[in-house]
């Protein structure tokens, strides 16, 4: 194998100019120029789905213990309480503290906030800090991406909307900025047959749950 002259290698490295090489190296310089002319600087564009695949993998990772506990707090649970006057005062104080110091969470499963005999108020919450608009579309609104916009909540990046839903199973997904479909990361999902996942919500007269 015939090697390039050391000076030509230094030219290839950008350490010398062509004038510093001398006429006797002109032929080698031409070869070196031809070599560099073949370097392809064109950019490489990766598929748009890469971000979604990475984030789907991230969301599938098991949450740490304290994250699971925090998520449990946001879900609907049946509680039986015996109310005493002093307890009402204590609970009110505790609730105030929670509202003052609770940080924004990644996302919350829909939570039932009130009940009626045949329908339940369900609060949809999504943490989408970079979004300009968020809506929820599902079987309950004919998958209309404009019918149910979420509003900015008090916490930064958090969007929320409360809907009255009839009892039954509902499929839904969030729509971010009118084009990006986002499954609820804390709710179970099912394939929609088109490569996306929809979240599943079960509503009963006693409340709503996501599992």
């Amino acid at each position: 194998m015939r090697e390039f002259h050391p000076l030509v290698k230094r030219w290839l490295d950008g350490e010398l100019t062509a004038d510093q090489l001398g006429a006797e190296l002109a032929a080698e310089l031409a070869e070196a120029r031809a070599l560099l002319s073949g370097v392809d600087h064109s950019p490489v564009t990766l598929g748009h789905e890469l971000d979604q695949r990475v984030m789907a993998a991230v969301r599938s990772r098991p949450a740490r213990r304290w994250q699971r506990a925090w998520r449990w707090i946001g879900e609907a649970h049946e509680l039986r309480l015996r109310v005493r006057p002093w307890a009402v005062v204590a609970l009110a104080a505790a609730a105030t503290l929670v509202l003052m110091f609770a940080p924004a969470r990644q996302s919350r499963a829909p939570a039932a906030v009130a009940q009626a005999p045949e329908s339940v108020y369900v609060k949809f919450v999504l943490y989408a800090p970079g979004a300009h608009e968020v809506s929820v579309a599902g079987t309950f609104n004919g998958w209309d991406t404009h019918a149910t916009p979420l509003a900015r909540a008090d916490a930064p990046g958090v969007w929320a909307a409360t809907l009255s839903l009839p009892a039954g199973q509902h499929l839904y997904a969030f729509v971010v900025d009118g084009r990006r479909w986002v499954a609820d990361p804390t709710a179970p999902g099912v394939d929609d047959g088109f490569g996306r996942r929809n979240s599943v919500l079960a509503v009963t007269p006693r409340g709503a749950r996501v599992s």
Binding site: F4, G38, D40, L46, V54, Q106, G130
Partner: protein, 185 residues
């Protein structure tokens, strides 16, 4: 600055710390920030954009799994590059083992290859095949210096190799590429 503006300007360190604190959705900011920056490096190392996409995706997932081990969150980019680099080297070793003897992978037709080659000049195609026959170390230094435009000092900082050893690899690469081009023109 509004809330969205503040979020857009968040440093890598801020985002890494937020993710480690439980805000996993913010990892998307790092993915968006670096997904294309290293795409060309991976594509030239592995020989195709498709392989590059798989490598970049795997590297991001691996980086998330190991995020707690990122000692300098403000240098997430450098740390991520090392993970991607390891992935590319491992892929090179794997494909080398699987390659059929004396048949170059780059000379085999593949999906989309004809379209990509049509966009490249004959010289570019020839050099790309020559580069694919270099060792992984030679190929990396050639790609980083002549495709990505990095200096030897920058490559040394990114890879941990010394400038002297990088130059030695590069100069061997020049000779091998010269021989390759001479045989085929």
């Amino acid at each position: 600055m509004d809330r969205l503006g503040a979020r857009a300007a968040a440093s890598d360190g801020d985002v890494v710390r937020a993710v480690l604190a439980g805000d996993a959705e913010r990892y998307a900011e790092l993915v968006q920030r670096y997904r294309d920056r290293y795409a060309r490096y991976a594509a030239r190392m592995l020989g195709s954009p498709d392989a590059a996409e798989d490598a970049v995706q795997d590297a991001f997932i691996r980086a998330y799994d190991q995020l707690a081990q990122c000692r300098d969150p403000d240098n997430f980019a450098g740390w991520f590059f090392l993970i991607l680099r390891n992935r590319c080297f491992a892929e090179r070793r794997r494909t080398k083992r699987e390659a059929v003897a004396d048949v170059s992978q780059d000379e085999l037709p593949g999906p989309g290859r004809a379209d990509r080659d049509a966009e490249r000049s004959e010289t570019q195609q020839l050099l790309a095949r020559g580069v694919s026959e270099l060792t992984a170390e030679q190929r990396e230094v050639f790609v980083l210096k002549h495709v990505e435009g990095k200096s030897y000092d920058e490559i040394a900082a990114a890879t941990g190799a010394t400038v002297a050893s990088l130059k030695m690899r590069m100069h061997r690469a020049y000779d091998r590429l010269r021989a390759y081009l001479k045989e085929r023109t």
